[in-house]
């Protein structure tokens, strides 16, 4: 796009012109090429569609669109056929011809590509009937399936940048007031009210003022910011430009991890397009307001998602946090007033401006408003990104939307809020999920990661895993975090390897309390959460490891032995075949045995056994 939009009127005209040129009845194929689907081979499917469409001379008759992530990553690559909204999942290159031939040309639905409920077997034709989507409220994320992230016309066709035009005609103070009324809280971790940050930055003395988008999403398993930036970069840009105008800022940064190459690429393309269209740069939409921003790629340190470490990194120094007794809104980047919000927070802004703060405050719970995108991963059937109103129950998210636990196993716990979040047990499944409720049970909202665990998860081993992650990602500046997490890790390794000592649990608790109080930044002060929450809810598992040298979940290798249940073994010989070290032996049709000295406890026999005859104790 090279047309420069010089006024609000011209923006409206352009949007209408694009919409008028699009026939809603025209057949369309939308293919998700978000990172999850790409990993499932979506690019090959995309190439096959292009080739087949050209070969059949259909390129003028149908629209083919590649979009960012739709959220149902478990079922990728995914295709939506419009205008009927037919939903096909696990689409392979071989299916492309059929889809064109049968569905597009003849209007037939291909049964084999439909989603079937894993429990009931019921099949669904349309996307909005699939329980995974039906039970969500996809306000922010839903647009992802309507826009090609590299095509700004797609964004304008869904009234993109209308909120910006509306904002630029408002008083900056009124914009801030809308965000305050909305009570939008930060989606990146702390949950600080965005409106208050905007207010403080706009009132702060000093120039220039900066707005920053924190796209340094580093929680293992969380990828909602990535998917927004990859799939709908203009939405994030629009939010930032509105924020900059409200605050009185002319310069901004997007700090994005370099491990997100597609996000880096798409946001850069969007910035270029927005600049050319007069939506970024000098005199935006002829309003007299000027704002521009730069993309800065992060080097991959988890701690750089912490705002003060992020500033240090942007300034070219090592990513170490500093005390925040003076807020960044007064002294942030280069000691200037700085307003930093996370990707998802910025993406919420255009909706608040379009629909008003009161509308937004009508969604959610008393102190947590709007919708939140959760990244649902782990031992769950429907792995993916889920957007629901704040206050939705954990049970709804895990069982109704998430489709329950993988292989019909039993739910054990859910880790929310990333590696430094807490583990929540089954007893709290009906709790409404919002900032305050999660904090009450010893966890946190964080950026919205949800890792589901089944009965086969050892909670001590899990605490060891996350503590190990956090100990290695500690920046090393302050003693409690650097040294304390190391010692916690050592004790947890001891416990999982059978060297746990009598007073270890109490020591972990007191060490955890000191680290929480003493650490310099939020990484350190939240880092004991996985240990403290698993002790709180699964103390008996710690005790079994320490006192009885036993791992109840059968995970910790040093504490378990594999044996064969003679009552169940049929002598099928499969375990002997899969055992990599020759520990499982036996004659055909006779009960097999496992030599504990040879056994490496890899679990291959248990996984392969069809008769549940392998005992782990």
């Amino acid at each position: 796009m090279t047309i420069k939009i010089k006024s609000f009127g011209e923006l409206k005209e352009l949007q209408e012109k694009i919409k008028a040129g699009r026939d809603p009845r025209k057949p369309g194929i939308t293919l998700c090429v978000g990172t999850g689907c790409l990993a499932h081979g979506a690019m090959k499917v995309a190439d096959a569609f292009r080739e087949e469409i050209d070969k059949r001379g259909l390129s003028v008759k149908i629209d083919f669109r590649k979009t960012g992530c739709h959220g149902f990553c478990e079922r990728g690559p995914m295709v939506i056929i419009s205008p009927e909204n037919i939903f096909y999942q696990h689409v392979k290159v071989e299916d492309v011809g059929d889809i064109l031939e049968k569905t597009i040309l003849k209007g037939e639905v291909i049964d084999g590509l439909l989603y079937a409920n894993p429990q009931s077997g019921e099949k669904y034709v349309h996307e909005d009937e699939v329980p995974f989507y039906k039970l969500q409220t996809r306000t922010v994320f839903g647009m992802n399936s309507k826009v090609d992230p590299k095509n700004m016309e797609d964004y304008l066709a869904v009234d993109g940048y209308s909120a910006l035009a509306k904002a630029l005609a408002m008083n900056p103070e009124d914009i801030v007031r809308e965000v305050v009324t909305a009570n939008l809280r930060g989606r990146g971790g702390g949950g600080f009210p965005a409106g208050r940050k905007w207010e403080e930055t706009s009132k702060a003395k000093g120039s220039p003022k900066y707005v920053i988008c924190n796209a340094d999403e580093g929680d293992p398993g969380a990828y909602m910011d990535r998917s927004l930036l990859e799939g709908n970069p203009h939405l994030v840009l629009e939010g930032m430009i509105i924020g900059a105008f409200a605050i009185g800022s002319s310069e901004g940064y997007i700090y994005v991890r370099n491990e997100y190459p597609l996000a880096v690429e798409n946001i850069n393309v969007a910035i270029k397009q927005a600049r050319e269209a007069g939506l970024l740069g000098e005199n935006i939409l002829g309003s007299g307001f000027s704002f521009d921003l730069k993309v800065n790629r992060g080097g991959g340190a988890f701690v750089c998602g912490e705002s003060s470490a992020l500033f240090a990194s942007l300034e070219g120094r090592a990513g170490e946090p500093r005390a925040k007794y003076v807020h960044a809104t007064e002294k942030g980047l280069y000691d200037k007033p700085t307003n930093l919000n996370n990707v998802e927070t910025w993406a919420n802004v255009p909706f608040i401006i379009q629909n008003g703060g009161d509308w937004y405050a009508g969604i959610g719970t008393d102190h947590s408003k709007g919708t939140k995108i959760f990244s649902l991963v782990g031992k769950i059937n429907n792995t993916g990104l889920v957007e629901v109103p704040m206050g939705t129950s954990m049970r709804e998210i895990v069982f109704d939307i998430g489709g329950g636990i993988l292989n019909n196993r039993k739910f054990k716990a859910i880790q929310t809020g990333g590696p430094s979040g807490g583990c929540i047990p089954e007893a709290y499944l009906d709790m409404p999920v919002d900032y305050d409720e999660l904090t009450k049970v010893g966890s946190m909202m964080g950026s919205g990661g949800m890792i589901v665990m089944d009965e086969g998860t050892c909670m001590v081993d899990l605490a060891r895993y996350f503590t190990n992650f956090l100990a290695s990602e500690s920046c090393g500046k302050c003693v409690p975090c650097r040294e304390g997490l190391q010692r916690m890790r050592e004790i947890l390794v001891d416990i999982t390897e059978g060297r746990g000592q009598e007073a270890d649990i109490e020591l972990l608790e007191s060490l955890g309390a000191s680290i929480k109080d003493g650490a310099l930044c939020a990484l350190g002060s939240s880092a004991p959460n996985p240990v403290l929450s698993t002790i709180r809810y699964f103390r008996d598992e710690y005790e079994a490891h320490i006192k009885e040298k036993r791992c109840p979940a059968g995970v910790c290798k040093a504490l378990i032995t594999y044996s064969v249940d003679p009552a169940k073994c049929t002598g099928c010989t499969l375990c002997a075949k899969v055992c990599p070290v020759g520990a499982a032996t036996g004659e055909k049709k006779k009960v097999h045995a496992i030599d504990p000295d040879k056994c490496t406890r890899c679990g291959a026999c248990k996984e392969s056994c069809q008769f549940d005859a392998i005992i782990v104790r």
Partner: protein
Amino acid sequence: MVNLTIDNRKIQAEEGQTILDVARKNGITIPTLCHNDALEPSGSCRMCSVEIGEGARAKVVTSCLYPVAEGLVVNSGSERVKNVRRTVMQLLLARSPESEQLARMAEDLGIHPEPRFKPSEDGSKCILCRLCVRTCETVVGVSAIGFSFRGPEKNVCTPFHESSNICIGCGACASVCPTGHIEMHVSPSGDVRTIWGRDFKMAACSKCGLYFAPEDQLTYISGRTGVPMEELMVCSSCR
């Protein structure tokens, strides 16, 4: 001026000061490891933690960084504060068991090593207080040393652990180091000083003939101040 309370004592202080400044001026002892009056506070050791506020709003902050404010209530020796200090000290004792200074400070504070923390065997006395790095950067103005790695692997070093060609051999880092970790050697005749793996040729005093400072340091000072080299070639005793 602002009015605050530290350990139930009503105190008046100037705005902009930190809790630590004010406490020390009023004879209240708060232990520190990474603090030095010549340097901006860093807040990395956490020994100077104090509790502020009351009831559910009480929280632990570092007194070296927290600015005093009207009505502030500070408790410099609450249970939470003692726990943080004890933990910090025990963690450092396990990290640098060979440091006599740390052992003495622990004894003064009545803190014993935590037997469950296996003492480190690498012989390093560095507690990463950052005094050396901050001195080199802000007092000397050279930045010859910094940190490499993060978390448990973090260490103070010259870039890539190679001998630094911007280091002036002034030894300020060694003299500010509270645990004696940074070693500086002088040749028997005094003509060479070795620090951070590099040998520095020492300049002899033009009056008494004694070696007194690395030539690189004098060249650096001359360049920074404009004082001619000849004038700098006199040791402090002869000046």
